[in-house]
């Protein structure tokens, strides 16, 4: 189909030109926002490490594989720590701990109850999908040093998402109800985390709209691989769209 009204095209071309510059990585505003975003990433990788180790206690036969995944997360954490150092930014770790607290609490509670499905949904699906989408959006607007590190990390995160996906796929029928329940309890937390981080992310030129859509794409894809129908997935994901 061929056409678009002239005036609209003009508007669009203007906004195209405006959107192509990288942020000023040395500005105070950038560094301030980066101190929280960087902390979230560092804390997130640390949590991921701890969570995979903990999962090893629930799935003892895969303890070694989970320990391998955990080691990767620790490597990522070190990489992101150096990204902050490179920009001369001190990560605001207390902020990040608070940021992760509700999700951390839910994971710990599920762990105590031996709910492996809930633990996998929180760590291997939600957190990994969140990380993957955020890293993908960050890469084109990152400083050259962080860009290289993040490109390496994002490849690994797919391995992690895939781990949870495969386990839940193999145990789909037995996990289905618990997944639905865990989705209901935890997806709104992810959404609220996205809201909390939106203003800082915008300073880094990462837009909330992109973050939400890309997160949902990764998450929906995982749910689809596991075995959910499109209808189930749309219903489950709806919780992330509604504020």
């Amino acid at each position: 189909m061929p056409t678009l009204e002239t005036s609209e095209v003009a508007v669009l071309e203007d906004s195209m030109a405006a959107g192509s510059q990288l942020p000023d990585f040395t500005s105070e505003a950038y560094k301030d926002a980066y101190s929280r975003i960087n902390a979230i990433v560092i804390e997130g990788e640390q949590e991921a490490h701890d969570n995979y180790i903990a999962l090893g206690t629930l799935i003892p036969e895969q303890k070694d594989e989970l320990a391998r995944l955990a080691r990767m997360e620790l490597k990522h954490m070190k990489g992101f720590t150096s990204c902050g150092r490179n920009l001369g930014v001190e990560a605001d770790l207390p902020f990040a701990k608070k940021f992760f607290a509700p999700l951390h609490g839910n994971f710990q509670a599920a762990l105590q109850e031996g709910k492996v499905v809930t633990c996998l949904l929180i760590q291997a699906l939600l957190i990994e999908a969140f990380a993957i989408s955020a890293y993908h959006i960050y890469i084109p607007v990152a400083d050259p040093f962080a860009r290289k590190i993040t490109e390496g990390v994002v490849k690994d995160e797919y391995t992690h998402l895939n781990y949870g996906q495969e386990w839940l796929k193999a145990n789909f029928e037995a996990s289905k109800d618990e997944l639905m329940e865990a989705n209901k309890a935890n997806l709104p937390l992810i959404r609220s985390m996205l809201e909390q981080v939106a203003a800082d992310a915008a300073v880094l030129q990462m837009e909330k709209e992109d973050l939400i859509e890309d997160f949902l794409i990764a998450y929906q894809e995982a749910l689809s691989e596991i075995g959910f129908s499109s209808r189930d997935i749309a219903r489950m994901a709806a919780a992330a769209l509604a504020v």
């Binding site: 189909m1 061929p2 056409t3 002239t6 959107g19 797919y158 859509e213 769209l241 509604a242």
Partner: protein, 346 residues
């Protein structure tokens, strides 16, 4: 498998559809919610050609709505994400429908081949413009005589003549149909001169100059918003083919004696078990569709898995012959004026 990427005609229509499907959270959401909604593979369906071959198709809603056109990044993301989904689902050939191909072309999305970890394979996509151009050309050939217009003596204005579809229609009408004179209307002078050279004829006119002279007007450009056409200034009879998107021509024309036909629409010979064309407000949604969508079906029927229509001004008469032949063979006909036509002032 073939795919179709489409979208609702308005935000309101999209919300209503979501509500019917039971997605209340999304249906109740404001435009910002929709801007963050990922593309959805809404339905799959089978289509059987009169040759006996059955193919399977998928409809992907990009969750784009025309209200997002002023949000450049959102529109771009919607199109690229829908394309990525089509590719990830392993669909061989997918048509970009409605605003999708317009956004692709105007925002130069060829520069954005990488979507997250996916490299888009362009050969999996087609704009469907070759089939659209062929269908519009055939609509001129079939319907002008029904109004008593002899094309060998007629002036045919093509508005948007230098676009991908417009230039292909000009080529066909001048070389295959043999219309008496082509009136070439477009915004930019240089491409018009280039087209005139290529065609070896045709008269370059402004819209205001061309309209009163034309027996047939082919619109393949959307009209300026404020444009009103006074039917009294047009020739009688006058055939107008509305080949633009969205199709809004009939509302703009005051008076009678002017016959407006929706351009670039085809009808399949039997019902298709899909719901998607209700979104596009087709008169017979089980059979009628945009010719660009039908092109993906034709390429799948012909096992021609390639980006058949791609880029600008690559549509040759040979390609139009190929797709036109396939269109007939697999049971498509062009949308025509309903017979018998009231011939005004003829």
């Amino acid at each position: 498998m073939f795919g179709l990427i489409g979208h609702s005609t308005s935000f309101e229509a999209a919300r209503q559809k979501a509500s019917e499907l039971g997605f209340d959270h999304i249906a109740d959401g404001d435009l910002d919610v929709w801007c963050s909604a990922p593309p959805q593979l809404v339905e799959t369906f089978d289509v059987t050609s009169p040759t006996g071959r059955t193919i399977t198709g998928a409809y992907i809603d990009s969750c784009f709505v025309p209200e997002m056109l002023s949000r450049f990044k959102t529109a771009r993301r919607k199109v690229l994400n829908a394309m990525e989904l089509a590719q990830k689902k392993g669909i061989h050939i997918t048509a970009l429908g409605g605003f999708t191909s317009i956004i692709f072309e105007n925002f130069n999305l060829l520069q954005h081949q990488h979507v997250r970890s996916t490299t888009l394979e362009w050969e999996r996509f087609t704009t469907g413009n070759t089939h659209t151009a062929w269908v519009i050309s055939r609509q001129v050939e079939i319907n002008a005589p029904r109004l008593g217009i002899d094309l060998s003596k007629a002036r045919v204005a093509v508005v948007g003549a230098t676009g991908d579809i417009g230039s292909a229609v000009c080529r066909w009408l001048s070389q295959r149909t043999g219309v008496a004179e082509l009136l070439l209307v477009a915004r930019q002078p240089q491409p018009l001169l280039d087209l005139q050279n290529e065609l070896g004829g045709g008269r370059i006119l402004s819209l205001d100059e061309a309209l009163p002279e034309a027996d047939v007007v082919v619109w393949v450009a959307s009209m300026p918003r404020m444009l009103e056409i006074d039917a009294a200034s047009l020739r009688q009879p006058c055939l107008m083919i509305d080949g633009g998107y969205p199709k809004n021509l009939d509302a703009r024309i005051a008076g009678s004696g002017v016959h407006v036909l929706k351009g670039g629409i085809v009808e399949f010979g039997s019902d298709i078990g899909w719901n998607m064309m209700e979104l596009a407000e087709m008169e017979k949604p089980q059979r009628q569709m945009f010719a660009c969508f039908a092109e993906a079906m034709l390429l799948e029927f012909e096992s021609c898995h390639t980006n058949f229509s791609w880029g600008r001004n690559n549509i040759t008469l040979e390609k139009m012959d190929f797709i036109g032949e396939a269109s007939r063979r697999h049971g498509f006909s062009t949308l025509n004026l309903s017979a018998p036509v009231q011939v005004a002032a003829a």
